[in-house]
């Protein structure tokens, strides 16, 4: 058992499941938007605005956003802990990795706040 305090859910299984569920949600959202855009080639601002004004669409978008953030955190955390390691770079890796993880967290929170602002911020 390898302990880790910076992974998403600290359990490998939990992270794995979240990442898969998130992936499925994002795939559904992507497919939905693609079909919507293709069936509405002459999309107007009003139509688009109305679509996102509906509660289900807002919830769908929010769940997708949350999925994206957790999916990305789990994936990028794995990338960082693969390459930014003491084994590969020496002791400076730990500081670099923590810094990168903080940055990653910062961006993730920015995305989250901004996303919520977009989805729920307009009338």
């Amino acid at each position: 058992m390898v302990t880790s305090i910076t992974s998403f859910g600290r359990s490998g299984l939990y992270d794995w499941l979240i990442q898969r569920v998130g992936a499925a949600v994002m795939a559904a959202y992507t497919i939905f938007i693609t079909i919507y855009l293709m069936t509405n080639p002459e999309l107007t601002f009003e139509q688009w605005h109305a679509l996102f004004g509906q509660l289900w669409m807002r919830v769908f978008s929010l769940v997708t956003l949350l999925s994206f953030i957790s999916h990305a955190w789990i994936g990028l955390w794995a990338v960082l802990t693969d390459y930014l390691t003491v084994r590969l770079m020496g002791n400076k890796a730990t500081i670099l990795r923590i810094f990168a993880q903080m940055m990653l967290g910062g961006v993730a929170i920015t995305y989250l706040v901004w996303g919520i602002e977009i989805i729920w911020g307009f009338n």
Binding site: M1, V2, T3, S4, S7, R10, S11, G12, L13, D15, W16, L17, A78, T81, D82, Y83, T85, R87, L88
Partner: protein, 234 residues
């Protein structure tokens, strides 16, 4: 003449590893890579590599042969030589002790970590513990592992985290005991594996499956472990 390029490094004399080229006359025979090494060693005794059974069951002579990990003793030249060149390098990712000999400590440590022995505290019967042929069949494709490390050292996840990720070989053995109807430590075994590194660093790259000289499939075993974890957790 076959050109044989071999990774050479002797800590006593070399500052850094280098590739040495040998000319080799195969006399038109489709030799095994190990035969080539044995003949080269007769000329240059400083060449170091491991070998034992020379029939692919002891797992000593795993090495990187023209870019692909394999056992030298069962790899015929016809299957690996390209452009009349045989390139031999040590197994990737592990520290090189000398020439083609790598330090396998990390690999063995990961094997030990999964507690690779049958655990069953119930009193043993006077005869064997019974096991149906069907239950025994579940061990096929698992127990045959020879610990040659070809798989784990072909696995990028193992390159980056050999101290944390158990790697394909260790996980195949972990599943060998999880799958054994006689083993009763399933729960403990599973809970020891449920962290973000031990099992879940496997990204299904399947480099392990591509190189296993015994045709085993660690990716599938890891999938089974994940399913068992999932079943026990939901």
């Amino acid at each position: 003449m076959l050109k044989v390029e071999i990774y050479r490094y002797n800590p006593d004399t070399d500052k850094a590893p280098y590739m040495k080229t040998y000319e080799f006359d195969t006399q038109g025979k489709d030799l095994m890579v190990l035969d080539v090494l044995e003949q080269l060693k007769a000329q240059d005794e400083s060449l170091a590599y491991r070998r034992s059974c020379r029939e692919g069951v002891c797992g000593s002579d795993g090495m990187n042969i023209n870019g692909k990990n394999g056992l030298a003793c069962i790899k015929p030249l016809s299957e690996c030589v390209k452009n009349n060149k045989l390139i031999l390098r040590p197994l990737p990712g592990l520290p090189v002790i000398r020439d083609l000999v790598v330090d396998m400590t990390q690999f063995y440590d990961q094997y030990k970590k999964i507690e690779p022995y049958l655990q069953n505290d119930t009193p043993a019967p006077a005869i064997e513990r019974l096991q149906s042929p069907e239950d025994r069949e579940k061990l096929d494709g698992l127990y045959e592992c020879i610990l040659c490390a070809c798989c784990s050292t072909a696995c990028p996840s193992f390159w980056w985290n050999p101290d944390k990720f158990i790697g394909p070989a260790g996980l195949l053995q972990a599943y060998r005991f999880l799958a054994d109807s006689r083993d009763l430590a399933t729960e403990k075994r599973l809970s020891n594996l449920d962290d973000p590194f031990s099992v879940f660093r496997c990204h299904g790259i399947q480099a392990c499956v591509a190189v296993c000289p015994k045709g085993l499939n660690p990716t599938r075993a890891i999938g089974h472990i994940r399913n068992m974890l999932l079943q026990s957790a939901t």
